[in-house]
């Protein structure tokens, strides 16, 4: 009976995928994608994750987990698996899976969707589950520590450098997304600004009025946030007030930089912790609402399955489908960042070893389905509208007329009137060239929500979606700055002891300033760049994130081989090989390509020539030297990241070779087995 049921799931999934692939109509209903995704996830979870747990990891429920052995009522606590699932999902889900698919939609809906499904089921979920399990067997040790213990110091250092670099690039690109969403939008800016005092208020409530009563505080905060969204709309109607919040990119960038610094040096209870509670509630609520709305509305996908931009001429970012669809999707398919969470807080809560399936594999399945929803939200827009929102003026022309004629000439008809009407519906002054993914996602979400739950509120839904993205981007921004600060303080402590003390205020200020300067630099250049910094920063982020996934998969592969399970090593080695391939090819193209929209060096060269021949208008000539330097720096950074990846791969190969030859390697760092009943 069971077998029959699963055969049906497989059959339905295969027909849905076939239906998508063979569809020759103008549009296709999003339900095809939803059904195909649900079936693929169900099969992956039911069979692949079970097989990995039983054969490759050999989970053993008779073995006491660290939560049981080291239970201290605080961080080590055996917790119900669905609750750990909720915590873990809230920790791994961020803005990444929303933005990546939105940008990758320029290739059409099919390439991104396929990679989200395949990459998650065979790559991302496997990585998350494996690292979670390995860390659980090692008392919740971090990825960096595991790399050092199992492979040697090289892997350990690589993990630290990789984490620091990814943190800087990630924060810069997310900051840029927020800046682009707020640029010349008084409503969005006022709402995002209002989230800060609201968070502080909740922070004070949670510390002074009713300590630790998270639920009631969050509900009060959520009500205030919704009020801020509506209030922003009222402010937008006011003649003088709206001009105060009608800001250019540069002042907004300085605001984000100043905010990041202040947030990083303030005590966590005041700003970071309360805003994280709000963002977690918003995140879970919105994801749920979006899933329900997609099913109720079952929208038609208007984007073609595959566009002509797979050849690398895309307006949102330059580069061909291989390897850039894989670099761009990032977190929705496989995210190295998850390995840091899976080897931190989560393993200390796991009550039974077999829970790693639900928590590791299952959370990533859910994260991947968020990416699928983002893809649906991006592709249900008229393609012309989608490209008009997401293309930078450097590509399609600065004026509205120029942009619509360029985009229409690609075969995606759009008119100025259509864009103006849409902007008016959304309560914005314009939606042309609102790059970064957030505005187009917000338009998509607003149309899903308003058609599923009653129309008319488009502008409110739009700004709700912007606020929703901004709230958790800002959380990632200061959480990331803090982590970067701790890592930097740790490193600086080797140079001069007092700098390593995390509670010494001068050291806190210096390290925070350095970290903020690091990402602030990339953010500022991204705002100044007329071709839109997303084109540069998102691929760098993708490469950095894949590098971290590569390190995590190396650690996993190394441990599997050390345990004498060479025949199962492909489970992590195959995704590792794929990641190494796409990261290396992407880096090669980003550095060496002669196309200035793809290659960093070619772009620097082109700009230098223009500058020398006086072909640039004065305001662009003023920033050109900075941009040229930045392109060269980006090339060096991409090379550094890929070099680190190959060093770790070589180190893993060295360890594996020694195992194969029977030579001594570092001993296993697994905690000794203690039966559950001995507790």
């Amino acid at each position: 009976m069971r077998k029959l049921l699963w055969a049906c799931v497989a059959l339905i999934g295969a027909s849905a995928l076939g239906g998508i692939a063979l569809n020759r109509g103008e549009t296709i209903n999003a339900m095809w994608i939803v059904v195909a995704a649900v079936c693929v996830y169900a099969l992956g979870y039911r069979f692949y994750s079970a097989w990995i747990a039983a054969r490759v990891l050999t989970v053993d429920d008779a073995r006491a987990t660290p939560a049981i052995r080291l239970n201290n009522g605080r961080d080590f606590v055996p917790t119900h698996r669905w609750i750990v699932f909720g915590h873990h999902f809230a920790a791994i889900a961020g803005p990444g899976p929303l933005i990546g698919p939105t940008l990758a939609a320029q290739f059409g809906f099919l390439p991104g969707t396929l990679w989200i499904l395949v990459g998650a089921v065979l790559g991302g979920c496997v990585q998350d589950m494996t690292i979670l399990f390995l860390s659980t067997r090692r008392d919740g040790r971090s990825l960096g520590q595991m790399a050092r213990d199992e492979l040697g110091p090289i892997g350990g250092y690589a993990a630290i450098v990789g984490t620091l670099v990814i943190m800087l690039i990630l924060i810069a690109v997310l900051g840029l997304v927020v800046v682009n969403a707020m640029k010349h939008s008084p409503w969005a800016t006022a709402t995002v600004f209002a989230t800060i005092p609201i968070a502080v208020l909740i922070g004070l409530y949670l510390r002074n009025i009713r300590p630790g009563r998270v639920l009631e505080a969050s509900l009060i905060g959520l009500a205030l946030l919704l009020l801020a969204v509506v209030g922003g709309g009222a402010l937008n109607e006011h003649e003088t007030l709206r001009t105060w919040f009608d800001l250019d990119g540069k002042p907004l960038a300085w605001f984000v930089i100043a905010y990041g610094f202040i947030a990083a040096v303030l005590p966590v209870w005041l700003l970071l912790a309360p805003r994280d509670y709000l963002s977690t509630f918003l995140k879970l609520g919105t994801v749920l609402l979006l899933a329900i709305a997609v099913v109720i509305m079952s929208p038609e996908i208007k984007m073609p399955a595959v566009t002509q931009f797979i050849d690398g001429t895309g307006p949102i970012f330059g580069g061909a489908i291989f390897p850039f669809v894989f670099i761009t999707i990032a977190c929705g398919a496989i995210s190295g960042f998850h390995a840091l969470v899976a080897s931190g807080t989560t393993p200390k809560l796991i009550g039974t070893e077999s829970d790693v399936r639900l928590i590791g594999y299952g959370s990533m399945v859910l994260e991947s389905s968020v990416a699928i929803m983002a893809m649906i939200a991006a592709t249900l827009l008229d393609p012309g509208v989608f490209f008009a929102i997401n293309s930078s003026p450097g590509i399609v022309g600065a004026s509205a007329e120029a942009a619509v004629s360029t985009i229409s000439s690609w075969g995606f008809p759009v008119t100025v009137e259509q864009m103006d009407r849409l902007a008016q519906d959304m309560g914005e002054s314009t939606l042309f060239a609102r790059t970064g993914g957030a505005p187009s996602l917000a338009v998509g979400m607003a149309s899903i929500f308003s058609s599923a739950f009653g129309s008319g509120m488009l502008a409110v839904w739009y700004h709700f979606a912007i606020m929703f993205e901004a709230v958790f981007i800002l959380t990632t921004l200061d959480a990331g700055t803090r982590v970067g600060r701790f890592m930097l303080q740790d490193a600086l402590g080797h140079v001069w002891k007092p700098l390593g003390r995390t509670s010494w205020y001068p050291s806190v200020l210096i390290a925070s300033a350095l970290v903020v300067a690091g990402w602030g630099y990339f953010l500022y250049i991204g705002v100044v760049d007329p071709n839109g910094g997303i084109n540069i920063l998102w691929p760098l982020f993708g490469i950095a994130n894949q590098l971290l996934a590569g390190i995590a998969l190396c650690v996993a592969t190394g441990i599997i081989i050390k345990q004498g399970k060479l025949r199962y090593a492909w489970v992590t080695a195959a995704p590792l090989a794929w990641i190494a391939l796409i990261t290396t090819v992407a880096t090669w193209e980003k550095v060496m390509s002669a196309d200035p929209r793809v290659g960093f060096l070619a772009a620097a060269e082109q700009l230098a020539t223009k500058l020398a021949t006086g072909a640039l208008p004065p305001e662009q000539a003023a920033v050109a030297p900075q941009l040229i330097f930045n392109q060269r720096l980006d090339a060096a950074l991409a090379l550094l990241l890929t070099a680190i990846l190959w060093v770790v791969i070589a180190d893993t190969a060295r360890v594996s070779w020694r195992v194969a030859r029977g030579l001594p390697v570092l001993p296993s760092s697994e905690a000794p087995a203690v039966p559950v009943h001995a507790q």
Binding site: V77, G96, G212, V483
Partner: protein
């Protein structure tokens, strides 16, 4: 599903939501403390909350 489990459903759900949001963290700590160190006084709700936040945000607890 029997009537008894159905009747308990709201309470189970409420417990689940409290645990998910860590709203119950302090009462869980009190229970653990009473069981393991009954001879020492537990720390206050505010002290517990502040220490927990400090611990939570000292490592990577949020992702992209």
């Amino acid at each position: 599903m029997s009537f008894a489990t159905l009747r308990l459903l709201p309470r189970t759900l409420w417990r689940f939501i409290r645990a998910l949001s860590r709203d119950d963290a302090y009462s869980a700590y009190l229970a653990h403390h009473a069981a393991t160190h009954p001879d020492t006084p537990p720390i206050s709700a505010r002290e517990f909350y502040l220490r927990e936040q400090e611990r939570k945000w000292s490592g990577v607890s949020r992702c992209c």
